[in-house]
């Protein structure tokens, strides 16, 4: 297979699933500096009308991005990355947490040896990112 074929539109990226627990959210809060209560405080989350503590949208964006970077190899190849947060990802404190499932596909060949990749990101069967699109420079 030539390099061009490896990255041709229609190419399916290796899918991945990411379990998310409360501990992951606490660790991400610390690393990112986003200590919003809705991401760790169940009492507060329910008070503001959420079903439970929810994952940081940026955490979901980051783990979904792993499907891109694991596929392309060099994270610097990700030149543009856009996501729309359409549904929250509740992370119950039940010893299991949530599961985020990510698939991706090359949808367009662009100029300068770049391609567009569309990701589909689901949790509990629901699309949690309404749109997730990246522009990736092929090596």
């Amino acid at each position: 297979m030539t390099e061009t074929e490896r990255f041709a539109p229609g190419t399916v990226l290796p899918a991945a699933s990411f379990p998310i627990t409360r501990k992951d959210l606490v660790r991400y809060a610390g690393a990112s500096g986003d200590f919003n209560d809705i991401h760790w405080n169940g009492r507060f989350a329910v008070e503001v009308g959420l079903p439970d503590v929810i994952a940081h949208g940026m955490y979901t964006m980051a783990v979904a991005g792993r499907v891109l970077t694991d596929w392309i190899g060099d994270p610097a190849a990700v030149q543009e990355y856009f996501v729309r947060f359409s549904k929250p990802v509740p992370v119950p404190d039940d010893g299991v947490g949530a599961l985020v499932e990510v698939t991706g596909k090359v949808t367009k060949a662009l100029d300068d040896g770049r391609v567009q990749v569309d990701l589909t990101v689901l949790s509990a069967g629901q699309k949690v990112l309404g749109k997730a699109v990246a522009v990736v420079r092929i090596p």
Partner: protein, 153 residues
């Protein structure tokens, strides 16, 4: 209440420089569960042509989110920050962030819209080194959800 349209185009003062550290990159990579050596091992990064380890694609949020607080908590704008949710996020990267980068963020209000009582504000954050090299442009849509209808007497 709809936000003041005159804020569109307004640019806030540059933030103090944030110095990217190797251990902060590792901590962030650990937090997103990504074992990629390019985030930790300078030799692995050099093998891909980088001068040092690089930060993951969403790492710049560590800088852009606090920078956006200038706008979110600006009393003159009057955004109801208790009702703000993150609508969407975009990064346009010139290159990944690396240890030793001293990064200054400049936030501009790109658009303000109102729909069904929700205030929608797009903030564009340019992150550059103190030497003036543009690294990344982040755009965040923040949505202040409509207040609950007042209870009937």
């Amino acid at each position: 209440m709809a936000l003041d349209q005159s804020f569109v185009g307004r640019t806030y003062p540059p933030t103090p420089a944030y110095e990217v550290g190797r251990e902060k990159i590792r901590e962030f990579a650990d937090a997103i569960g990504d074992p990629n050596p390019v985030y930790r091992d300078p030799e692995a990064a050099k093998a891909l042509g980088h001068p040092d380890v690089v930060a993951p694609p969403t790492f710049p949020i560590v800088i852009s989110m606090p920078a956006a607080d200038q706008v979110v908590y600006d009393p003159a704008l009057g955004l109801d920050w208790s009702r703000v949710v993150h609508g969407d996020q975009r990064f346009n990267h010139e290159r990944p962030m690396r240890p030793g980068d001293r990064v200054v963020a400049v936030v501009t209000v790109e658009s303000i819209k109102s729909f069904a009582g929700n205030d929608m504000i797009t903030l564009m954050t340019e992150m550059s080194t103190v030497e003036g090299e543009l690294i990344t442009v982040a755009r965040a849509l923040l949505v202040a959800r409509a207040a609950e209808p007042e209870e009937q007497p």
